[in-house]
Amino acid sequence: MSATDYNYDVFTGGQEEFLDFATHAPKATMRAPSFPVEELATGETVDMKNLWKTGVTVIEFGSFT
């Protein structure tokens, strides 16, 4: 999926991503994948694994809309 496809400009609603969540996304008891993310406040890039380095971390994904 390209950045253009991912950042769609028209919401159509689909079920595919829900199937992906159930079948392809990591499952409980697995090790969480880590990717670089940018901290909004500082602009610094950090690896997600640093988020859970010291303890339990609650991660919510979302957007303004």
């Binding site: 993310v37 971390t57 979302g62």
Partner: protein, 184 residues
């Protein structure tokens, strides 16, 4: 979720928000064509909703978001070492708190009680605060309202489940009646 963050911070629970693509882009908050767009919308969200949690941005391709399933408002709980304790297709703070208490209990008592974790699945519940959701669509712009309405119209037949149905046809439910499963 902000309240949950405040109440559990002193129990060494870190709460973060990872900003994804715009789920319902509109004239006021458009889809992202650059990280600058993403930063601007994330900052608007922080300011509007008074977000106190640490805010991180996924990359423009949504690499992390898509790997974790790509849903618009998921919540995950990850323990030390990256052990995934909980994943939820939607965010419901009561369900997250229930799971979080379970995780903290496990972390604090697993050695004493010789507990071992095991894989489990369950369904969860949520209310549907449509007023707030509609407010969000209006805030995003007329296009967001129109796009969502279009999806509702397209899915009307699927969503019109009988009242005695145990699992209404909402996104993320996999339930099918016996008749549907047999193709009738």
């Amino acid at each position: 979720m902000e309240d949950l963050h405040a109440r559990y911070a002193d129990r060494a629970v870190r709460s973060v928000f990872i900003y994804t693509h715009e789920a319902h882009p509109g004239e006021n908050y458009r889809h992202h064509t650059s990280m600058g767009d993403k930063r601007a919308n994330a900052q608007a969200f922080v300011d509007h909703s008074n977000i106190k949690r640490e805010m991180f941005l996924d990359d423009l391709d949504g690499t992390a978001h898509r790997t974790y399933g790509g849903l618009p408002n998921m919540t995950w709980i990850v323990g030390r070492g990256g052990f995934i304790h909980y994943k939820s297709a939607w965010t419901n703070s009561a369900d997250v708190e229930d799971a979080l208490n379970n995780v903290l209990d496990f972390q604090e008592n697993r050695i004493k009680n010789q507990w071992i974790p095991f894989y489990s699945e369950r369904s969860a519940w949520s209310t549907r605060p449509m007023d707030r959701f509609q407010e969000g669509l209006v805030r995003a712009g007329p296009q967001a309202v129109s796009d969502y309405q279009g999806m509702i119209e397209r899915n009307k037949a699927k969503r019109a489940a009988p009242s005695e149905d145990v699992a209404p046809r909402v996104p993320g439910n996999f339930y099918k009646t016996e008749e549907e499963d047999s193709g009738k």
